[in-house]
Each structure stands twice: as C-alpha cells, then as structure tokens.
C-alpha cells in the first residue's frame, strides 16, 4: 500500500526510468555499448575510402568509394521493394513489402547529378560525415545530432544498396533502426560529454540565449 502511494506521488512518466542503481547502471551500460558500437561501425568504414583519392583509381572512375557510388546509381532498377516478407513459400515474390522504386530513382538522380561530378570534394563530405558520426557516437558529443546524421547516412545507403541482389537488406535496415533508436535516446546524456554540456546549455537557455536553446536540441 505504501508502495502504491509512493508510486502515485511520482512525477508523470517516472515509472519508465530505472528504479535501482543496478538497473540504472545496466541502462547506461547498454546504451553506451549500442552508441559506441554504432560509432565503431562508421570508424571501420573510414579506412577503405581514405582521402585524397577515396580509394578510387583511374581518374575517379574505378574502385573504392567511386565503385560503391557507381553501383548505387547503376542498380537503381535492380529491385523496387524493401522489408520483404515471403510468407507463402510456394508463391514467388513477397506478400508483404514496401515499394521504394521512387526512392531508388531519386537517389540515382542525386548521385549522377551531384555526387559523381563532384566526387573530388564530395568525397571529403562523405568521409567527414562518417568521421563526425564516429566521434559523436563514441564520445557522446552532440549525440542527437550525430544520430540524426547517422539516420540520414544509413537511409541513403539503405535506399541505394539494400535492394540489390548481393546484399542482405536487413544489414542496412538494422543500421537505420539502431541510428533511429540512438536519435530518440540521445546517448550522450547517459555516458558522454553531453552530460556535462546539457546543464550549461540549459542555463544559457534560461537566460534567454537562442544559441543555448539551439545547442540543447542537438545534444
């Protein structure tokens, strides 16, 4: 009974947060593992497309980042479905799926008109973006922004490559889902530099600073 009364006096929503030190430690530990894991994924992908040539050969037409970009555009017609569920084995083709043909075409247009002609500098944007995701997720530094960037990067990869025959679509979908979860959680609030930054940004916001309000959104 006393416990019920105590529960009733809690702030709204408090019930979903850790009730013991052990549980809280478990939450922080698992969020840190997921966040650092996502950051490490992007870290491992930095090394096969190092600037200044991004692993490309023959005047940025073959190999490295260039071949992946090329594949992403060339295979826009390879498939137009994602999240495929083949429920009845005897029937060919999935019963459930999400049509993404329009997105793969849009992605191919983006690659052919913007990325490929400007690969000499756009490669730095791609490499720098992935490096930022690594730093943000591993240090818990502006982690909501880092996760949002990871959602964008993962979505582009998913649209460009997940539907092709050589790929397991769920590797890209899971990447996006993990990034989405990190965006919602904002892992830096639990283990990273954001823990130190947020109280200061809050104080700035309370003093009427627009910069503080903006920075608070990104952590």
């Amino acid at each position: 009974m006393a416990e019920t009364n105590s529960a009733n006096t809690r702030e709204p929503g408090e019930g979903i947060y850790a009730s013991s030190r052990l549980e809280r430690g478990l939450i922080v530990f698992t969020i840190a593992v997921a966040s650092i894991g996502l950051g490490y994924l992007f870290f491992t992908q930095l090394w096969w497309k190092l600037p200044p040539d991004f692993g490309c050969r023959e005047d940025f037409t073959r190999g490295g980042l260039c071949i992946f970009i090329e594949r992403s555009a060339a295979e826009a017609d390879a498939g137009d479905k994602l999240l495929k569920a083949n429920i009845i084995e005897s029937r060919s083709g999935p019963e459930l799926s999400v049509p993404i043909g329009w997105a793969t075409q849009l992605n191919a247009t983006f690659i052919e008109t913007i990325v490929q002609p400007n690969i000499r500098w756009f490669g730095y944007v791609i490499w720098g973006t992935e490096a930022f995701i690594f730093l943000s997720m591993c240090l818990g530094f502006f982690s909501r922004l880092g996760a949002l960037v990871a959602v964008g990067m993962g979505t582009q990869l998913m649209i460009g490559l997940a539907h092709t025959s050589e790929e397991w679509e769920w590797s890209y979908i899971l990447l996006v889902l993990l990034a989405v979860a990190m965006f919602g959680i904002a892992p830096g609030r639990y283990f990273g530099l954001d823990r130190l930054l947020r109280p200061r940004f809050k104080a700035m916001r309370e003093r009427g600073s627009l910069v503080g309000r903006f920075l608070l959104l990104l952590t």
Binding site: Y17, S20, P52, L193, R200
Partner: protein, 52 residues
C-alpha cells in the same frame, strides 16, 4: 609527406581533442542553473531520477 592513414588518424585525434576542449570551455565559462544543480544533487542522493 605523411601517409593518408596517418593524416586520417591525426584528423580523428584532432576531433577528439576539439570535442574535449569545447566541453571544458563550456563547463568552465557557463555555470549550470540553480534548478539544474539541485536536480543533480537529488540524483546523486537518490540515484534514480530522470535524466534530462
């Protein structure tokens, strides 16, 4: 001329240093609000309050 791998490592290391220095500068120059300080103290005592 440094190898691209070394330059990349230096860039990443620079990113880590920049993030830490930025955090230190903010922590030193901006004091948290009273409400925030009280909340942190409560959290330290209780160990179960909501992270903001």
């Amino acid at each position: 001329m440094l190898a691209p791998e070394i330059i990349a490592l230096l860039v990443l290391l620079g990113g880590v240093v920049a993030a830490v220095v930025f955090t230190i500068v903010i922590v030193v120059t901006v004091k948290p609000s009273n409400a925030e300080r009280e909340e942190n103290e409560r959290e330290r005592e209780g160990g179960s309050s909501q992270r903001t």
